[in-house]
Amino acid sequence: MKRESEMSAENKSRRFAVLAERDINKETFVEPWPEAGLIVADSPYDPRPSLRIEAGRVVEMDGKARADFDSLDLFIADHALDLSVAAEAMATPSLQIAHMLTDINVPQTAVRRLACGCTPAKLVEIIRHMNVLEMMIGLAKMRVRRTPANQAHVTNWKEHPALLAADAAEAALRGFAEVETTVRVARNAPFNALAVLVGTQTGRGGVLTQCAVEESLGLRLAMKGLTTYAETLSVYGTERAFVDGDDTPWSKAFLAAAYASRGVKVRFTSGTGSEALMGHAERCSMLYLEARCLLVTKGAGSQGVQNGSISCIALPESLPGGVRAVLAENLLASMIGLECASGNDALASHSTMRKSAKLMLQFIPGTDFICSGYSAVPKRDNLFGGGNFDAEDFDDWNVLQRDMQVDGGVLPATEEAVLAVRERAARAIQAVYAGLGLPPITDAEVAAAITAHSSDDMPDRDAVADLAAADRFLASDAGMLTVAEALRRAGFVDIAANILEMGRQRVAGDYLQPAAIFTSPAGAEGSRPLRVLSAINDPNDYAGPGTGYRLEGTRWEALQAIRQAQSPRHFVAPHVGPSSPRLVELGLARPSTRAEIIVAVGPAFNTALTRTIAGLEHEAVLAAILSGVADEGLTARIVKVYRSSDLAAIGYAGAELSGSGIAIGLQSRGTAVIHKRGLARLNNLELFPQSPSLTLETYRAIGRNAARYAKGVPPAPVGVKIDNWARLRLIVKTALLHRRETDEIADKPPQELWFDWEPD
């Protein structure tokens, strides 16, 4: 076989040239290479599951003796595995546990009990038996929180505080339960965290916020009360990668406890591909290493994890089975009781088809957070790696939820509500800056932030002054209380109260439990008291159809009420005008033997409806057809068919009456057919189904062709513009116009119409 490069130019396929230009072909696809860690699952070097316990201590795990354990093995063996169930779990065939995952008669708790006794290799072996559909069922059952939710990313390239606050407020209004920001310049961290805190609590009280920065700085922000959770505590599946990440399982666990000691929710981060990217995969598959990460996460006492490859997503996606492995990661996390923020954040593909298809694996079963960061800002303003789904996809996302009756955690919003909440947030952050003596935010900046789509719409700020102020703010005692007080003094009492309530919730620590979020009505008013939802009071109880979380009631009503949805009751009105007085019903239509064409119209013609779907007046359409018939020297009679609204039946009835045997059937919406007596009802000479594309010229050509059939002169078929989108665009109107015609059906024979018209 010739290689493509050896093919001559004339031997190039036009089709392949078009395929080469498709978005999907901007991606990189490679064959597996286990030695480089480029294999998503089933590396020949992955260990086989094993576990030996002596005197209450693990002495062998996954084929390795304790003396050979690295620090991760030690941590997993001594902190993650539930040794009380481990022997039973390891003795249970992996296939059986895979069956339990998909069996609606086995409760979540029974699967989790066994999963918590499984070694990393055992967990991977269970997954090996499952296809994506089975994993999705497993995920729907194993997800920790009953109610699914979503997280937003709010950042911008200019790190503009008013825009951050406005975007955070919009994200909160749109229903995101968590909002994560980060920095372009690390020193901006306290201000970005501040803007997002004020913004979210303007949009909806109770939204959890974080600022992803270096670990120590992150902890300082949390201590100041500027953030309520931390997510970027990264863990890796090999010791060398872990150390390159400047941590150990113990330091990460200590950090988790440090955060919790300040009342801050913690979620670790891991994901397939990171070890290979860091050059320390040790020939193991990505999924096996991720299983190790998850057990480290569990052992460290993190309530949850963000995984699903996250920023490395393109790496597993370059390999066969990559997207399946990413779903497997989410399932593994859920199986062992970790809250899962399931990826779908960093740019994963150029292809919208591929992106959406991948999303369905988490979107349909539902996860604790479908995205571990839905970019609530445009991609170019996303400082996390692009944003696989962004602010420009809000409507698409809302429609997907409405299509599938799936709760993807994003509420539809009106332009009016969004503008109002953005204005409030921008004004609030302006007041905080003024109250704290920070470099002022001008009214012009506020005005820009309200209507902005991206930071391109924002004026530049004095970056030097902002950074100096940020340093002073971080070093000062100012924190959550100072901010709340500044807001209260400036009259933003409700926002101040929301922020103070976050502080009060911090004292209770209810949101430290697995998969905790706060629910509250949208808007700053009436957001309190907040209601915490977590694995403790909202455990996922999915056990098959009719159980678990169901999108119904007011939530379903809210998710289906997209702003584009219109009442179908008004669709017909533009097609009803005054009936033409030039068209008069004479009485019973009788057969004839003249050389004539019958134009048979539907029961609503020129009465209940007066215009076609293309907006043509019925009178004008008739005149065009009759002109066409006249062009060929024949005349036409017009009859109205009452017993059917079906085009074939109308044409057929006309042909029965026609002296020439030729009739044109015409529905009120404009669809036409040329019929002939003797043909089967559903057969025809020519059919013109694309009524939206039919013009008066086409109708005239239809008239001409009908006459030529009658004369026995072979006509060339009428050329009709093909618009395959018309049906898609107009199908609702088509259905409603047809319904109106059908309403006019009456039990009487065809009636002859007199049309007061003469050819030119």
């Binding site: 620090s71 941590f75 001594d78 902190h79 993650a80 708790t109 120590s216 902890l219 300082r220 009360g225 010791e239 872990f242 150390v243 400047d246 150990t248 113990w250 330091s251 666990a253 200590f254 950090l255 988790a256 406890a257 440090a258 955060y259 919790a260 000691s261 300040r262 009342g263 052992g299 460290a300 006492g301 993190s302 309530q303 009781g337 005692d477 924190g479 959550m480 209380l481 709340a484 007080e485 209260r488 009492v493 101040a496 103070l500 502080g503 009060r504 919730q505 911090r506 004292v507 209770a508 620590g509 209810d510 430290l512 439990q513 697995p514 008291p529 915490v532 694995a535 403790i536 009071n537």
Partner: protein
């Protein structure tokens, strides 16, 4: 018998007894007190007791590792911010010698009564030593 629904959330079910690290009752964290200038940062800090209560809830709900983490967190509420950051830094790979790690464990245990965290650091010290994750002895 008290079920989880009678205990959790604490904000709802322990409203009468729930206090911040400062001792101020959660119910007294209000906008009015803020306006009066009565609130301090310690009023928005979680108390060790609240963390222990959350740890007990997590344990009862089947999350023993989270419970252990929350117990360590309860111990760490006693450690000032700056020192807590230094302690974390000490535990990062290659930062501290074995002896320095043991000293950290001792300080946690003796100064802050952080028994579980101290033991956790001792365990880390042993692993770091065996895996070459300690700083070279000066």
């Amino acid at each position: 018998m008290r079920t989880m629904d009678d205990i959790y959330p604490l904000m709802e079910h322990a409203a009468d007894t729930l206090c911040a690290a400062s001792g101020r009752p959660a119910a007294a964290i209000t906008l009015e007190r803020l306006a009066a200038g009565e609130l301090t940062d310690a009023d928005l800090r979680i108390a060790a007791d609240a963390l222990r209560a959350q740890a007990a809830i997590a344990l009862a709900a089947g999350y023993p590792q989270l419970a252990a983490n929350l117990r360590r967190a309860a111990e760490l509420t006693a450690v000032p911010n700056a020192e807590l950051l230094r302690m974390y830094e000490t535990l990062r790979p290659g930062r501290a010698t074995h002896a320095e790690m043991l000293a950290l464990a001792a300080r946690l245990e003796e100064t802050y009564g952080a028994i579980e965290t101290g033991a956790f650091v001792r365990e880390a010290a042993a692993v770091y030593l065996s895996r070459g994750l300690t700083a070279p002895t000066p």
